[in-house]
Symmetry: C2
Subunit: 152 residues, 2 copies
DNA sequence: ACTCAACGTTTACATTTGTCAACTCAAAAA
DNA sequence: TTTTTGAGTTGACAAATGTAAACGTTGAGT
């Protein structure tokens, strides 16, 4: 992956970068100055730090810049929902397949969701239930070694 | 945080470390040899690499060791579900509060869940719906700046 | 025309993470 | 007893990440 590559590394957003991306996604497009001041109201980061993060985000293909006067206007190069989906899936890939459901239950129990979020979730679950398997096997051990799994 | 600290860094499990932890959690307790051979059936990592990861996991307080003969028996120092929960919450903390529901919908749609997982999810949702707010506000911008939010 | 403030660019540096090779020791085998 | 081998320990190193100072350029104000 050379520096000329404009490959989007959507699956590689660091925590610090998420914070900036959220602002960009929410505002649609922002100038660095605005970004910096908004960011500094949430985190105690220096201007420099933020500029560096911005530069890296552009390199990673997550932000686009448009020169306007002397300054740059930043806009997201990837959809917020897309980034969220990729990241969430990535995380769940690390979890034992057998325990993903429980993790979701705990997560949902902990999150604040709106009435309509809940309705959408119920809808997708109803649909999913029609073809859901009776059980999902643990996939923590190498292929063909499932018998050894002590999963409770 | 000095090296003598045995503080459990449960919120700081790297991808490579997850792979090892999964094996430990699934098997309950394992000797490094077994761990290494199981791991090598999934990843092309050298013995050394795995030993290093193991060492770091012990340092982080995620694995416990028990000397038996010359070798160590490794056991998880934290519960799998606990680690999963913490990690999942951490991830969702990075996402716009307003779009967490949609992300969950997409995630659930993509995961393979068992009948009972789905039932548990439906149960928790039914319960949650009773007190769920009508809407959840975007929390991407600094406090008191919500009005500026362009969230769709 | 001169100076300063605002922006972007370069450098820098400590940590963390992914990956290993080399080394030490004692148990096991020859 | 000498050798081999399996386990754990050290040292290394590059890339990624968090953080930030210093520097260069140019438009705006004096």
């Amino acid at each position: 992956m050379d520096s000329t590559s404009t490959q989007t590394k959507i699956d590689d957003i660091t925590p610090a970068e998420w914070e900036l991306m959220r602002i960009v996604w929410t505002k649609g497009s922002v100038y660095s100055r605005e970004l910096i001041s908004l960011m500094q109201q949430k985190r105690d980061w220096s201007d420099s730090t933020i500029k560096t993060l911005l530069r890296r985000l552009v390199q990673k293909g997550l932000l686009n810049t448009e020169k306007e006067d002397r300054k740059f206007k930043y806009t997201a190069a990837v959809e917020e929902i897309k980034a969220m989906d990729v990241t969430a899936r990535q995380l769940f890939d690390h979890l034992c397949a057998m325990k993903r459901g429980q993790t979701l239950v705990n997560l949902i129990d902990h999150l604040e969701l709106s009435q309509s979020d809940i309705e959408s979730l119920q809808a997708v679950l109803t649909e999913k239930k029609k073809t859901a398997p009776e059980t999902v096997k643990c996939d923590c051990l190498p292929e063909g070694m499932d018998e050894t799994c002590d999963c409770n």
